[in-house]
Amino acid sequence: MTNPKIITKVNSVMHQGFEIPLEKLTPEATLFTDLGLDSLDAVDMLVHLEENIGIKVDGEKLMSVRTLQDVYTLVDELSSQPGVEAKLEH
């Protein structure tokens, strides 16, 4: 189970960063088909998540991300990095 704080934070980052309506942000939504992102947006997303959540992602991990749930899982795995907890509260 993904930490609900992570879901809320990732959704808010995606909503603000890409102006995607919140109701579209469901775990099974695919980034490219359902959310209308392209490969360049995926890089912006990575940088945006890193900036706003304080995580550091290995670039190669991005290659296996397909759905929003994959993003939640990725952030969840990295949420023990220093400083992340505090950023999840805001």
Binding site: E19, D41, H48, D58, G59
Partner: protein, 507 residues
């Protein structure tokens, strides 16, 4: 007079990256038009004359220019190679690194470098060999440098670009002096060892160790040669055409507009100016997501460079075929003041002779460029003023820093200033004025591991037919700019066959 013309590709700027893109695309049969804001082409390739001598601005030396090496091959491929434009630097020591208590001269060739370093640091034999083996191995991962696509392993490439130089070096050696020597070339990209990607640093090191060359007739001559190639291929190169707007329709670029009121329609636009400046020119900012705008906003710039262009009396203390680097400390943490913003005191400097070939025989005055790190902040009150109309206070501030640089160099060359006949100085405001650089930075975007590899900007943008090229998209340097153009132009005309042709030509 205003008008409208149509091309396959319009290229903004005429720095090395723009000229390379134009030469490549025109060779492939595209109609191209290069638009340069300044009255001369070349960007940082351009030279100027003072005190009867030629001075370079941003092209003092380059690498990978030996026969069959990447830069040499690329220029030959473009039919822009001319042997008389380049001069091999001293193979016994082309870069002289000077620290307060020791000096190291970097020779040409891996074996010689390893041997000399090992003589210097006998107990570091393993570390030295391993370091250079890793440099050699990592550059092979970059397809547009080694012209190979077959062995491309994206996972390895990303790992190499996301590992810092310091991470690699600190694991190999505890010797602080050896670390200092291996970090000296960070002055060429302006990024600290903890933040520069090992892969990018390795390309710079590899290119210099294999084929260090000076510009025999200055960078200008290379720019002129490139223009001649573009024109021979049917392309157009125009100066005094500052692009002010990129016109779009339905998120597709249609044309560019210049300050002279002209409109140039194109199927493709390649921009060689700073990405921030490029995206500011796009007439529909709604194309860019807030996430992208924030990403762009958080990118920082490299430091500015202060230049002193001087004539040194005969007999000179400098060899025409060497470059000289000076560091206030050999402590890896203190030797590079690349993040220094407020302390107006030089901690490093580098000196490059201009005119690598003497005009005539016999001892004579030697033109030299002295560079030191500085911040655009120091000159903020005068931003926006014309270069020839700045008040006394600006010149006083410049003179004060020039004197500090001479004082700093005094420990290495006592009385250097008394051996200088004339000098003139430049600040980051010159970069702003002549080159449209962002914040007057010397090398454009600060290429830290946070924004290289998977996170690098370009060559593609959110506008499918607008590409960016140049030092900001890959890494700085004339070579970096040329290689970046291979990627940008390759996106338009297909990179794979070009890499294959280049590889064949290199053999």
């Amino acid at each position: 007079m205003s008008g409208s013309s149509r091309f396959d590709v319009v290229i903004i700027g005429s720095g090395m990256a723009s000229l390379t893109s134009a030469a490549l695309l025109s060779k492939k049969g595209f109609s191209v038009c290069v638009l340069e804001q300044y009255s001369k082409v070349g960007g940082y390739l351009h030279c100027f004359s003072r005190f009867g001598h030629r001075f370079d601005t941003g092209a003092h030396y380059t690498g990978a220019m030996g026969p069959g090496q990447p830069f040499h091959t690329l220029l030959r491929y473009l039919e822009a190679y001319d042997e008389s434009l380049f001069v091999p630097l001293d193979p016994e020591g082309f870069d002289v690194f000077r620290f307060p208590d020791f000096e190291f001269q970097l020779p040409k060739g891996y074996e010689k470098t390893i041997e000399r370093l090992t003589k210097f640091f006998p107990s570091e034999r393993e570390a030295i060999r391993t370091y250079f083996e890793r440099v050699k191995a990592v550059v092979k991962l970059f397809p547009t440098y080694e012209f190979t696509d077959d062995a491309l392993d994206p996972v390895q490439l990303i790992a190499a670009t996301e590992t810092s130089l310091a991470t690699v070096v600190e694991k190999l050696t505890q010797s602080r002096s050896l670390r200092a020597i291996l970090y000296s070339h960070c002055t060429l990209h302006g990024v600290m060892p903890q933040e520069i990607s090992f892969g990018l640093h390795a390309i710079m090191v590899d290119s210099l160790i294999r084929g260090p060359y000076g510009f025999a007739k200055g960078g200008d001559a290379l720019a002129q040669k490139m223009v001649a190639v573009i024109q021979k291929n049917g392309g157009t190169v125009l100066t005094k055409k500052k692009v002010t707007r990129i016109e779009t329709m339905n998120k597709i670029a249609q044309a560019v507009h210049t300050d002279s009121g002209d409109r140039y329609e194109a199927k493709w636009i390649v921009s060689g100016c700073h990405p921030k400046a490029t995206f500011r020119m796009v007439d529909d900012p709604g194309i860019f997501s807030p996430a992208f705008r924030q990403r762009l906003h958080t990118l920082k710039e490299t430091i500015g460079i202060f230049g002193i262009y001087a004539t040194h009396q005969a007999p000179p203390q400098f060899d025409r075929l060497k470059n000289y680097y000076y560091f206030e400390s050999a402590e890896p943490e203190k030797m590079l003041d690349l993040n220094r913003k407020s302390d107006a005191k030089p901690g490093l400097a580098f000196i490059c002779p201009s005119e690598r070939i003497a005009k005539s025989t016999g001892t004579q005055t030697l033109p030299i460029s002295i560079h030191a790190a500085c911040s655009v902040e120091w000159y903020k009150p005068w931003i926006g003023t014309a270069w020839n109309k700045r008040p006394h206070e600006y010149h006083a501030a410049k003179n004060a820093y020039a004197n500090q640089i001479f004082d700093f160099l005094d420990q290495f060359h006592p009385q250097l200033k008394t051996r200088i006949d004339h000098f003139e100085t430049s600040t980051p405001l010159s970069n702003l004025y002549f080159n449209g650089s962002e914040e007057g930075s010397a090398y454009g975007i600060y290429h830290s591991i946070q924004n290289t590899g998977a996170r690098a900007l370009g060559p593609r943008t959110h506008i499918p037919n607008l590409l960016i090229t140049g030092q900001n998209t890959l890494f700085p340097g004339i070579l970096g700019a040329a290689v970046s153009a291979l990627r940008s132009a390759g996106h338009i005309c297909g990179i794979k066959p070009i890499l294959k042709e280049l590889k064949e030509l290199a053999q």
